[in-house]
């Protein structure tokens, strides 16, 4: 049973990353109509940012948790201003191709300087050790990642679904021209939205640094799984992305316990099944 709970926890942690990344993808897609292929690369940049902050600036994990998303988010906003904004009015597929190119550039540069091996990032002192819950041993850091991700996801949901800013955002998603007519600076909102999505990816990167090590290609395979998560969940609903992300992480964890050979592929197989039964995705509207 111990092993089952341990795999469930690993599943929840992966689920946190899926949720944070697919949430960002959905927010970006809503505003920019772009599927951000660079999301995995920006997640990796978040982890590297934390690594640099610690090793070059002596800035600890807690500050990295705040600063890395901001730094990478600003980098994302620069990308949006300089490159992505020129795609307005073009076929959606060009957005995919452009961001794929950005991902190749970023990952290639990091691979050049850091190879493919992982750099260690220590768990902060306050989160070391573990708790005995009676039925399992819970490493505190892992529990922290799940709880903190959940809080961030729900906060993002609240921001978009329950605040005035979020209302502008949703309105601009539906009809940007009309929202502009009301005097709201929609291009700036688009930039900030991209920054927000990218920041969420970078945050996931910082959270994963102590668990998965910091590697140039850490986001490359992850983003493909997140694409499958997005296909399963659909991008129509924020809450849908969060729930699907966590749920698929748990399913993956269970698969690791019961049938480890399929743990890499289970999300893709589920995607196939969902497409056969309900092609629009579990929560999505027809695209």
């Amino acid at each position: 049973m111990q092993a089952l709970y341990a795999q469930l926890l690993v599943g929840l942690i992966n689920g946190s990353f899926y949720a944070l990344l697919s949430l960002g993808l959905a927010v970006i897609f809503g505003m920019l109509n772009i599927i951000n292929f660079a999301h995995g690369a920006l997640y990796m940049m978040g982890a590297f940012c934390a690594y640099f902050l610690l090793n070059l600036g002596g800035i600890n994990y807690w500050w990295a948790l705040l600063l890395a998303p901001i730094i990478v988010g600003i980098f994302g906003m620069i990308l949006e201003r300089t490159l992505l904004q020129w795609l307005t009015g073009l076929d959606h597929l060009y957005g995919l191709l452009l961001t794929f190119g950005i991902a190749l550039i970023v990952q290639g540069i990091f691979q050049n300087y850091f190879g493919s091996s992982g750099l260690p990032y220590a768990i902060p002192d306050q989160l070391r050790g573990g708790m005995n819950l009676g039925f399992m041993f819970l490493p505190i850091y892992r529990g922290w990642v799940v709880v903190f991700s959940l809080v961030v996801c729900l906060a993002t949901w609240f921001l978009i679904e329950r605040t005035r800013l979020g209302a502008y955002l949703r309105a601009a998603t539906e009809n940007p021209t009309l929202v502009r007519a009301f005097g709201i600076n929609v291009p700036r909102m688009i930039t900030l939205t991209y920054g927000l999505g990218v920041g969420l990816a970078a945050l996931a990167g910082v959270l994963s640094a102590p668990i998965n090590q910091v590697r140039p290609l850490m986001g490359a395979d992850l983003i493909i799984v997140v694409f499958a998560v997005v296909v399963i969940g659909g991008m129509g609903s924020i809450m849908g992305s969060i729930i699907t992300g966590f749920a698929l992480g748990v399913v993956e964890g269970l698969t690791k316990y019961f049938y480890p050979e399929a743990s890499n592929t289970v999300v893709f197989v589920l995607m196939v099944l969902v497409l056969l039964v309900k092609p629009t995705g579990l929560t999505g509207r027809a695209a």
Partner: protein
């Protein structure tokens, strides 16, 4: 919203004539390659990728479907052919057929699944399916995992054409490439191709005109996947191995890049693009990961400033269809 190929000239007798002339010139140029001192291995490799890119282009350029998983057909056909040749001891012609059959079956299954969604979702689904297959090939014993299938015998085609001679192999690959190219060319210029283009431009309208668009898309997908598989089978004879790199997502990305550089939705663009990218990889082989960075820069530059691609720009300049 402009579609991914922003201008389509109608098929006129003049356009057909232009394209046939260019085809004859291309075939003639490729036929004299062994006498020019160019490294035949390089040209053969480029030809395999050119056919692959043409097959990919059939989907994106004429059906509006961007497949981000076309490497799965390359890799699957490669593994099937390699296994048939090496383990079962098949002659080359049956080895190629085995590879094509593998890609054919795979394209029916993956096509049936992926055409259920359009646009951006289609791309994500094909990418996810190819990644699924990647992990399957990583784990199944017949592919030999990370090592791949190596040292594949080239054998004698039809019992008398010795494929271990580079020049002979070159002409066999060339004939295969030209045959595949003509098949695609014929498809594009057929009534079937016209319906595909109408689906790309406006699927709802095509449906309202009574076309079962799903069947057209599936058929195009199967055709594209099978021809891509043929390219994969030919590549086995050139490289004499079949490995995981052929199934990896980065390979799918390269196929997209080749077509983008040459010109999406142009007849000859993918061929030009394949030669450009393969040549670039040859010359920059010593620069390690910078090749990836350069590929990324080309992607960005093409999307932002050069969406017609090399051939598309030339065609636009001369107002011809190429």
């Amino acid at each position: 919203m402009t579609s991914i190929t922003d201008e389509t000239l109608p098929i006129t007798p003049r356009a057909m004539r232009d394209e046939m002339i260019v085809f004859v010139i291309m075939a003639a140029l490729l036929a004299i390659v062994p006498f020019t001192g160019l490294y035949p291995f390089f040209v053969m490799q480029a030809l395999c990728f050119a056919l692959l890119a043409c097959a990919f282009n059939l989907l994106i350029g004429y059906g509006g479907l961007l497949s981000f998983g076309h490497a799965m057909f390359l890799g699957t056909a490669g593994y099937c052919s390699a296994h048939a040749l090496k383990v079962w001891g098949f002659p080359p012609e049956l080895g190629i057929l085995t590879g094509i059959a593998g890609a054919f079956v795979l394209s029916i299954i993956t096509g049936y699944i992926s055409i259920r969604r359009q646009g951006i979702y289609f791309s994500m689904i094909t990418l996810a399916l190819s990644q699924l297959l990647y992990f399957v090939y990583l784990q199944t014993p017949f592919t030999h995992g990370e090592d791949g299938i190596q040292g594949i015998p080239q054998g004698k085609l039809f019992g008398f054409i010795d494929l271990s001679k580079p020049v002979t192999l070159y002409y066999v690959v060339l004939v295969g490439f030209l045959a595949g190219f003509l098949l695609i060319f014929r498809t594009i210029n057929s009534p079937f191709g016209e319906v595909l283009k109408s689906i790309r431009e406006n699927e709802q309208r095509a449906i309202s005109l009574g076309y079962k668009t799903d069947q057209y898309k599936l058929l195009a997908f199967i055709l594209s996947g099978t021809i891509a598989g043929f390219a994969g089978s030919l590549k086995v004879f050139v490289a004499q191995n079949a490995s995981l790199t052929d199934v990896h997502w980065s390979m799918s990305g390269e196929i997209v890049l080749m077509t983008l550089v040459g010109g999406l939705g142009t007849v000859f663009g993918p061929v030009v693009g394949a030669f450009v990218i393969i040549a670039m990889q040859q010359y920059l082989a010593g620069f390690g990961q910078w090749v990836t960075v350069i590929q990324g820069v080309i992607f960005v530059a093409c999307v932002l400033t050069f969406r017609r691609g090399v051939v598309g720009e030339i065609a636009h300049l001369f107002k011809r269809s190429l």
